[in-house]
């Protein structure tokens, strides 16, 4: 087994803040997130030879972390899955006033999303991955990622009671996802 190179180690170190952010987004729990990151680093170290130099290390690490997350979820029996909006129903967020949406409310809303939608909107809207990269990370089609992002966005707007976002100017997406006459 070849030794792990210094540059690989340095890049691993550099990726930790992003990995932790993604892990918190997935688990919604800081302790579980850090355990997940630790597990990811150990796995990445063990299988460093399967990483193709020159390809996207961050995407490779996110893939490992995500796989680990879902395998842990399966072991735990998916105890926290919000299947039919049970949690959403009891989430009482007051309507956002002129877009002054509180970050705490936003976090609460994000938590109500099904995992597949949450990870999609995070990968695309926050982690800076392309649709192709996100599809690669999630092991699904690009179109699937697109529709998950779309549904995530619509769901967030619904939970947060953002309808038209008119005060920010014309927004074709809002019009689409709210399904009608936002303009």
């Amino acid at each position: 087994m070849a030794a792990v190179s210094q540059s690989f180690k340095t890049e691993l170190l550099g990726a930790i803040p992003s990995l932790r952010a993604f892990a918190v987004s997935l688990t919604q729990n800081a302790d579980r997130a850090d355990d997940l990151v630790q597990e990811t680093l150990v796995k990445a170290w063990d299988k460093h030879e399967s990483f193709q130099p020159g390809t996207n290390l961050k995407a490779w690490l996110f893939t490992i972390l995500r796989n680990e997350f879902y395998s842990q979820m399966r072991k735990r029996g998916r105890e926290v899955q919000d299947s039919d909006g049970i949690m959403t129903a009891r989430l009482a967020v007051h309507p956002a006033q002129h877009g002054q949406l509180d970050l705490k409310d936003f976090r609460g809303a994000l938590e109500q999303l099904p995992e597949d939608q949450r990870e999609a909107i995070i990968l695309i809207g926050a982690s800076g991955f392309s649709y192709e990269e996100a599809a690669e990370i999630c092991g699904c089609a690009v179109g699937t990622i697109k529709s998950r992002v779309s549904r995530a966005r619509a769901r967030l707007q619904e939970i947060l009671k953002i309808s038209g976002e008119d005060e920010f100017g014309p927004d074709a997406i809002s019009a689409q996802v709210t399904g009608s006459n936002a303009a």
């Binding site: 087994m1 932790r20 952010a21 630790q38 976090r107 995070i122 982690s127 649709y131 074709a172 689409q176």
Partner: protein, 67 residues
Amino acid sequence: MKEMTKKQMADAASRHWNGDGNPLGANSEIARKLKQYYDELVSDHVPDRFAQLLSQLEQTEPAQKKD
């Protein structure tokens, strides 16, 4: 292209890639909150345990794969 028609793809593309290249819409409150939420997480202080872990992994090389 397996799951969507060409028209759906084009619609989806135009829906997501408006504004300044932000797939969620440049002016969207959700896009901005999402960034804010995530950036806060990324800038969180990284506990020492991770650097220590990597040093440990380095010291135990070559990996024996015992456990």
